[in-house]
């Protein structure tokens, strides 16, 4: 099923994306559908190009001077970030690559310590003093942000990429009114007058579902959900192309979480925003994202369209992680576990970082880093079970032993 949307109709693009997601949920046999896979790829490419033109055409500000109009929105290649703790180095992010197209939502999933937050912060180099991006490139419209000086980078922060930090709703300034806080970046970065900035702030608040009059409230007078909406309004202040949300719905009630996710969906459709959503909750990503990237111990385990990742996961970690989430609709009540714990990234295991916990580990996993292999259904996997040239059929994991209280975790080195 292919659609050639009218480049001027933004909503067609997002609708196509949604239908594309729905389509990819159907069964996909890589071997049999080779031809339709090629056709699909071609169709997706043209959809992407049309979408890109449409979204970029509607930008509030012109593209940056050095931008390449043909380049995808964001291309991250081999991003590597290290922390210095005392005299040891923590290899927090090790060779992470991904691409983000205009209007697309990418979910980055993984447990705590896998490097997803560090990856996001590395994009904007908002890292603490003891962290440093030591390798790779981050190309926004083809412009490599890693080669920019701190001063030059400020032009892109908030104007092109903005971020909602984890727990940010608790980081609002308690002595300033919410409306003023939303107006502040507009005044400073966009250069509007105070009155204009205030008006724009009011518009943004309405956009995120906060009545304009509530802009005069102080943060403590708002509920958690309202505060998170205010944070989203702040992130939108300078009309960025990309918003990064770091655990945007953790600590919120389930209903409020649904409201916020729906709000993000609406904003995507209305504004042509691209989203990077970071969370440990795989269930949340299933509904909101077009593509999902699963990270483990600083590396990408698997990445692809959401239907593929959830429907036919390949990487053992992805399979085990998915099995650990309760799934009401499938009637499955016994959850899986992943024995052991994530490695200490000061001394990561050689070869594949997951091999000590992997039920399908082979000899080669101990020594060689698995290469990233791309399959026709647009899924990337880094696992020796799927070497280059393999057919990509997902390998089911050996049935794990029943988990009981016996499989206790052993002593661990404290960080």
């Amino acid at each position: 099923m292919t659609l050639m949307p009218d480049p001027g109709r933004l909503s067609d693009v997002t609708e196509t994306a949604r239908l594309g997601r729905a389509e990819s949920a159907h069964d996909f046999d890589p071997a049999a559908d080779a031809d339709s896979a090629v056709a699909n790829a071609a169709a997706s490419a043209s959809v992407v190009l049309a979408g890109r033109a449409a979204i970029r055409g509607r930008r509030q500000w012109p593209l940056p001077k050095q931008a390449d109009p043909d380049a995808p929105l964001l291309v991250v290649e081999g991003l590597t970030t290290h922390f210095t703790l005392g005299d040891s180095t923590v290899h927090a992010v090790d060779g992470v690559s991904f691409t983000l197209e205009d209007g697309e939502a990418l979910g980055i999933a993984g447990e705590s310590g896998c490097g997803k937050t560090t990856t996001a912060l590395s994009l904007l180099r908002l890292l603490p003093a003891n962290a440093e991006v030591v390798g790779g490139s981050v190309k926004l419209f083809g412009i490599d942000l890693c080669t920019k000086s701190e001063k030059a980078l400020r032009r892109y922060r908030w104007r092109e990429i903005s971020i909602i930090f984890q727990g940010a709703m608790n980081a609002l300034n308690p002595v300033k009114r919410v409306g003023d806080q939303v107006a502040e970046p507009i005044e400073l970065r966009v250069g509007l007058s105070k009155a204009d900035a205030a008006r724009r702030a009011g518009e943004l608040l309405e956009l995120v579902g906060i009545p304009r009059s509530r802009g005069r409230a102080y943060p403590h007078e708002l509920s958690g959900g309202m505060r998170q909406r205010a944070m989203i309004a702040m992130a939108l202040a300078c009309d960025p192309a990309i918003i990064i949300g770091d655990e945007p719905t953790t600590a919120l009630d389930v209903m409020v979480q649904a409201q916020i996710l729906e709000l993000l969906e609406d904003l995507r459709a209305k504004l042509g925003l691209s989203l990077i959503l970071i969370t440990h909750d795989l269930s949340v990503l299933a509904e909101t994202c077009d593509r999902v990237m699963v990270m483990y111990a600083g590396r990408v385990a698997e990445e692809g369209p959401v239907g593929r990742i959830y429907g036919t996961p390949r990487h053992p970690y992805t399979q085990m992680l998915l099995a650990a989430f309760p799934d009401v609709h499938s009637g499955r009540r016994d959850l899986g576990t992943i024995p052991g714990s994530p490695p200490d990234l000061r001394t990561p295991p050689p070869g594949c970082r997951f091999h000590p916990r992997c039920p399908a580990a082979m000899e080669v996993c101990r020594t060689d880093v698995p290469p990233e292999v791309r399959f026709d259904d647009r899924v990337r996997v880094a696992c020796h079970l799927y070497p280059p040239g393999s057919d990509g059929v997902p390998v089911p994991l050996p049935r794990p032993a029943p988990v009981s209280a016996e499989a206790a975790v052993g002593p661990e080195a404290a960080p």
């Binding site: 949604r18 239908l19 997601r21 729905a22 949920a25 447990e111 995120v208 579902g209 906060i210 007078e221 708002l222 509920s223 959900g225 309202m226 009630d253 389930v254 209903m255 409020v256 979480q257 649904a258 409201q259 916020i260 729906e262 709000l263 440990h280 909750d281 795989l282 269930s283 949340v284 299933a286 509904e287 959401v306 239907g307 593929r308 959830y310 429907g311 085990m320 992680l321 650990a324 989430f325 309760p326 799934d327 009401v328 609709h329 499938s330 009540r333 959850l335 899986g336 576990t337 714990s341 988990v403 009981s404 209280a405 016996e406 499989a407 206790a408 975790v409 002593p411 661990e412 404290a414």
Partner: protein, 367 residues
């Protein structure tokens, strides 16, 4: 006679009758003058609930539902302002000191949600687990040490002797939660109130802890009150689920019933927005019922049915007047099912929601 009082006698471990916890709102000049509080935060506003021996009862609700306060009343950290609490048929509402309280505490223990905060950073694991035995003056020194060892071992920290003399900061989140469980087990309680025991843990650790809790139930005839905001976790572990909203129970039934065939609009909305790790399906999104606004303040509870201002069905079903005027009790639907909704009275499933309420409409939260 409300639904839950029909639990089979003798099977009942804990019973709540009309439990109320109203916190007075003090402060302000007006109060000084009138010498009365200006209002009440009705955190728990009349609950009838039974916890049967050996079951896992899931108490589910969002923030402001009163579920944590209910748990605190049962472990006697908070005093109820009305209603009764019964343990094994005996009225223990007034028990607040002396031997009676000590005996009560031996039978009712608690697991908190935050393993980082529940452990005193200056206390070793051994002292944490041994403390209940010391305070309750159980056994002699050697017996106590044996029980401490057993408890740590049963909680899955092996070898127990290795863990005994560590400090909390030397352990991971999952290990700390096991320590908390050991500390709750060491008194050999009849019932453990677990308040969000896994919500702060990584997903893969959650399963271990949940499995541990289920194993312990089997081995030691434990009963659990499992308090959580996460309906999917409740579904995995609970036998029965009670859904709370603004201080009252809205629905009660087995886990499968409550989630598969909800008979209260609030429950149905919660179930419909439950995220699942499944590939997205067209139509699934349309079935989501996202309620507008947030749970109102427990100091300003709506009159009539406390859910009616947010209820997607109230207007459409044309019985808005009744929902506004009369508060529905927890109506018994037979076979242990109950729902506090006029629409459920007939015993038939709820009508479908015609108009999906959006979340972007300007929301006015009652703060």
């Amino acid at each position: 006679m409300t639904a839950d009082t029909r639990a089979r006698d003798g099977d009942e471990l804990i019973r709540l009758e009309g439990l109320e916890v109203h916190f007075p709102i003090r402060g302000g000049l007006r109060d000084l003058v009138r010498r009365r509080p200006s209002g009440f935060v009705r955190a728990v506003d009349g609950i009838d609930l039974t916890i049967r021996r050996g079951e896992v009862l899931g108490l589910v609700g969002e923030s402001g539902s009163g579920k944590t306060t209910t748990g605190r009343v049962i472990v006697k950290l908070t005093r109820p302002t009305g209603g009764r609490l019964l343990l094994d048929g005996e009225d223990v509402t007034g028990v607040w000191g002396g031997d009676a309280l000590r005996r009560y505490r031996r039978r009712v223990q608690l697991i908190f949600q935050d393993p980082y905060e529940t452990l005193n950073p200056k206390q070793t694991i051994h002292d944490f687990v041994a403390e209940p035995l010391e305070v309750q003056r159980i056994g002699n020194a050697a017996e106590r040490e044996q029980r401490v060892l057993d408890a740590i071992d049963t909680a899955g920290l092996r070898p127990a002797a290795d863990f005994a003399f560590r400090y909390p900061h030397e352990l991971s989140g999952g290990q700390r939660q096991r320590v908390v469980i050991a500390g709750a087990l060491v008194l050999d309680p009849a019932i453990v109130v677990a308040d969000e025991p896994v919500s702060m843990l990584d997903v893969s650790i959650r399963t271990e802890i949940l499995n541990l809790m289920l194993d312990l139930r089997r081995q030691r005839d434990l009963t659990y009150l499992f308090i959580t905001h996460d309906l999917s976790v409740a579904w995995v572990i609970a036998d029965r689920i009670a859904v709370m909203y603004l201080g009252k129970v809205m629905e009660l039934g087995t886990a499968g019933e409550v989630i598969g065939d909800p008979r209260h609009p609030y429950t149905r909305a919660l179930v419909s927005v439950m995220p699942t790790p499944e590939p997205p399906q067209p139509g699934l999104r349309a079935r989501r019922v996202i309620l507008a606004g947030e749970t109102p303040d427990a100091a300003h509870i709506p009159t009539g049915c406390r859910f009616h201002p947010r209820c997607p069905l109230a207007e459409q079903a044309g019985i808005m007047a009744r929902c506004r005027a009369e508060e529905p009790p927890l109506i018994d639907l037979g076979n242990g099912r109950a729902s506090a909704c006029w629409l459920a009275e007939s015993g038939k499933p709820l009508p479908a929601v015609e108009r999906r309420m959006g979340a972007v409409a300007p929301v006015g939260d009652a703060r």
